[in-house]
């Protein structure tokens, strides 16, 4: 029997009263891709941070290639042959690829010999693993997929045999993700060991050999990927049976609710983020906007939500709304029947230091039923309303007096969704409704959105998760570089076609 490349024995780690990792043991065989899957907060990142020397475990041992190893900091991790590719890249934006690869691993005081050596090595690595990157390109000028390759090259340049990738596909288009997986496959052939951390079942099924499932700090199972299935993994992650597909009946589009014509948004830096976008949404349908993050979807939501400014023409129920910000803000949008679940609940949707009841009133604090008289707010009424909404949206714990920051991501999102959906809006704007939300809550939130559609409301759904768009939307528009590249029907398209549109490759004229 071969010795495992990595063996963790009984790793435990607590942060204050929170037990992030409980007695975790895992064996990763050399030359395999080992997936670690689990919901947010399951302890995946903590475990990897321990392996990479960011945290010190309270108990447990780390064995690398059959040798017990202490990893007090990342220097030791690198020395032990471990390389890590973080979700958020750690690259110097205005350095070249070569400079970034060398950074921190220079041989001497003078830079030139190190750079020359790195150049030849990069060439070798590129040939060996099909990792082609122009060594003289400046980081800020190359795409995200390329930047990720630089991160992988950095690890390989430091002679890593074990690569840890933390949610590597979060920022990639499907095509880029495919390329990444090809590279990972190549690395596996060359005998490297890869740990892939993700919450996407599809990726696990596609590329890994073995998969470990984590739930609430514990390792619930380690299975051969070939011998398992997505529903089984989902059940292991959540602890109960989960509906992965959204049940919905075909849409019955009614009256025109939202008409957007030639909408453009220029940000405060003078960059045009949304370029001449036009689309419509009818009552009782969901328009999904797909696209890689940062292609103008955020600005689109903000301008419709009333706190970004634009030009063009937008009508709701046939009446134009003000886009200049002179006569409108988030408040006036709500009065016009537009509710908004913003993309970033921690920065926009909630005040993290406010208690749940204060957050339920947030944005609707002018509502007459929340006022005691002209001077004072009726806090008791808001609390009662909050308790009611928390119960119906299954927010746990159902305590209106808890601060927003003490809820889990999924429950925070449920508070926002409850607040907005319960207003019975004509149009609901939803941005990344399930980002950082656990599978159980995803299922719930999706059901609520579909239920609102079936009540005859118009919904604009923006998401970077293609699966989410595919399963929820009745029509799909793809945004790239501020423009809508085309509209498709979910039953008449596929991930590949959408992926090409997301990458800016225009298909047949929409």
């Amino acid at each position: 029997m071969t010795t495992p490349a990595i063996e963790l024995k009984g790793i435990s780690k607590a942060f204050g009263p929170v037990q992030a990792n409980k007695d975790i043991s895992i064996r990763v065989m050399p030359g395999t891709i080992h997936g670690i899957i689990g919901e947010n907060g399951a302890g995946k990142s903590t475990l990897m941070s321990i392996l990479y020397g960011f945290y010190k475990a309270d108990a447990g041992e780390i064995w690398i290639n059959g040798k017990k190893t202490e990893i007090p900091d990342s220097q030791h991790a690198i020395a032990a042959g471990i390389g890590m590719v973080f979700q958020h890249f750690k690259l110097v934006e205005n350095f070249t690829v070569l400079e970034n690869v060398v950074l921190g691993a220079e041989d001497g005081a003078m830079l030139r010999p190190s750079l020359a050596k790195a150049r030849t090595q990069l060439k070798q690595l590129a040939e060996e693993y099909e990792l082609n990157v122009d060594p003289d390109a400046v980081i800020e000028e190359i795409g995200v997929g390329m930047q990720q390759r630089v991160e992988i090259l950095k690890a390989l340049y430091r002679q890593a045999d074990i690569l840890i990738l933390d949610e590597p596909t979060g920022v990639l288009t499907p095509a880029e993700a495919d390329q990444l997986f090809r590279i990972l496959g190549r690395l596996r052939e060359e005998g490297k060991t890869i740990i892939l951390i993700t919450h996407k079942l599809r990726e696990i099924m596609e590329i890994t050999d073995t998969v470990s499932v984590m739930r609430r700090g514990e390792m619930t199972a380690t299975v051969k990927t070939a011998e398992t299935s997505p529903p089984e993994l989902a059940e292991l992650m959540v602890g109960r049976k989960v509906l992965l597909q959204v049940d919905k009946v075909p849409a019955k589009p009614g009256e025109m609710v939202l008409e957007v014509k030639n909408l453009s948004v220029t940000d405060s830096g003078g960059v045009q983020r949304v370029k001449n976008v036009s689309f419509n949404i009818r009552a009782g349908e969901i328009l999904g906007i797909a696209g890689v993050a940062g292609n103008g979807q955020s600005e689109l939501l903000e301008v419709l939500g009333g706190y970004e400014f634009g030009t063009g023409e937008v009508k709701i129920n046939g009446e134009p709304i003000d886009l200049t910000g002179r006569h409108s803000n988030g408040q006036t949008r709500r009065e016009r029947g537009i509710a908004h679940v913003p993309e970033d609940r921690q920065r926009e949707g909630l005040i993290m230091d406010y208690m749940a009841w204060e957050n339920i009133a947030f944005g609707y604090h002018h509502d007459p039923k929340y006022q005691k008289n002209r001077l004072f707010m009726d806090n008791a009424a808001i609390r009662a309303d909050t308790a009611d909404k928390m119960e119906r949206f299954d927010v746990r714990p159902p305590n209106p007096m808890l601060q927003a920051k003490s809820f889990s991501g999924g429950n925070q999102q449920k508070i926002v969704v409850a607040r907005e959906i319960e207003r019975n809006p004509d149009l609901l704007l939803v941005g990344q409704p399930t980002r950082g939300v656990d599978i159980g809550a995803i299922e719930f939130i999706h059901k609520q959105i579909v239920a609102l559609r079936d009540q005859g409301k118009a919904i604009l759904l923006v998401s970077v998760e293609l699966d989410e768009i595919m399963s929820l939307a009745d029509r799909i528009a793809v945004m790239f570089d501020g423009k809508i590249m085309g509209e498709r029907l979910p039953e008449k398209t596929n991930v590949k076609e959408l992926g090409l549109l997301m990458a800016g490759v225009a298909g047949e004229a929409a």
């Binding site: 204050g16 929170v18 706190y307 803000n329 988030g330 408040q331 908004h340 993290m352 707010m377």
Partner: protein, 371 residues
């Protein structure tokens, strides 16, 4: 992360900080060859030992309540108003103008008039930095500090060239009419047999300050404006999403802050000096920052912290009077209190939090061990 119980957060941490400040002050007093215990006794006696002493302590506390509330209100909107000093000076000008140029029939009406005048002038002085912050992004800390100097220069000019009566030897206005003299604690609490608060400057304004605490509490936690103000202070991006107007919040919070700082003048100008002199504020505007920090921007906390600083101020003055401990020593003690309660908050908080967690985990760990 779990948190400590609320009582520990609100009371234990300030108390531990204060004890630490006291210990360090004692060391400093020892180092200059004086007896710290005797100094403490003298301070307590001088600040709390008689109605006279209380009269001074509460007088100072009144000033600090107003300036502390001013900083606290602005702080809820994440505006750091350092300009309490200047706003209080201008408030003094407002009080002086109201008292000198309007013939009031009774002190109670004059008090209302002076409060309005003080608040308006203080608010006006805060309005310009607020406007610059809201519209131009000029940092409020910088502009309010600069406005303290401008206020001072303005007052010097007005007192020397405009408001000083002919023939007076110092830069001050003439005395306010006797008719509108505010009732002092002596007038209010003395009986036929015993005279209380003899010679002490504490006056009815103290109760105005207490009322201001209640009003500010209602404003911050019970009104829609307070709700929006705190929301803006916690997260500007979320406030924008909700449709809260940043310009409005910046302006309104700073105007209220300036008005509160200005209202300090009814205590020191109308209640005590009964005329406007140069340097009437005596640094109370800056102490307000420490008071708000220590009081955690909560009106009740501000009230307690103001009492403490009133005690330090009066006790310190006594100390300088009766011992060879120099007056500067008082500044050192005050600085230590500010340092420990404000700046070094985390130094006390973190070990205490750890202690609480370990205490809490032990009983939780027991059943686990029994399994």
């Amino acid at each position: 992360m779990e948190k400590m119980p609320k009582w520990a957060d609100i009371f234990l941490i300030p108390v531990v900080s204060l004890i630490l400040a006291a210990i360090f002050s004692a060391i400093v007093i020892l180092a200059i060859g004086e007896d710290p215990w005797a100094a403490v006794k003298l301070m307590v006696k001088g600040a709390l030992g008689s109605t006279y002493a209380w009269g001074y302590t509460l007088y100072y506390a009144t000033n600090f309540i107003f300036t502390g509330l001013a900083v606290a209100v602005a702080f809820h909107a994440r505006m750091f108003n350092i300009g309490g000093e200047g706003q209080a000076m201008l408030g003094g000008l407002g009080v002086a103008l109201v008292c000198l140029y309007i013939p009031w029939p009774h002190w109670s009406l004059a008090l209302i008039g002076a409060s309005v005048g003080a608040a308006l002038f203080g608010a006006a002085w805060a309005a310009i930095p607020a406007f610059l912050q809201a519209k131009r992004g000029s940092h409020i800390v910088i502009t309010t500090i600069m406005f303290n100097f401008i206020a001072n220069a303005l007052l010097v000019y007005l007192l020397v060239n405009v408001l000083k009566p002919v023939g007076m030897m110092e830069p001050a206005t003439s005395k306010f009419p006797k008719l509108i003299q505010l009732p002092s604690f002596r007038d209010m609490f003395s009986t036929a047999d015993t005279i209380m608060f003899r010679g002490a400057p504490a006056n009815i304004t103290f109760f105005v300050a207490v009322a201001a605490c209640v009003v500010v509490w209602l404003l911050i936690w019970r009104t829609r404006l307070g709700y929006e103000l705190r929301a803006f202070g916690h997260s500007e991006s979320a406030a924008k999403y909700a449709g809260i107007n940043p310009t409005k919040i910046i302006m309104v919070s700073m105007l209220i802050s300036g008005a509160l700082a200005g209202m300090m003048a009814i205590n020191n100008v109308m209640g005590e000096a009964e005329r406007l002199v140069l340097n009437a504020v005596e640094g109370a505007g800056f102490i307000g920052i420490a008071v708000a920090l220590m009081g955690r921007s909560h009106p009740f906390g501000v009230f307690l912290a103001a009492l403490l600083f009133g005690f330090l101020y009066q006790g310190g003055a006594e100390l300088a009077l009766w011992t060879s401990i120099p007056r500067e020593m008082i500044v050192v003690i005050q600085a230590l209190v500010i340092l420990f309660t404000g700046a070094l908050d985390n130094m006390v908080r973190m070990p205490l939090e750890k202690l609480f967690f370990s205490l809490r985990r032990k009983p939780a760990a027991k059943p686990a061990a029994a399994e």
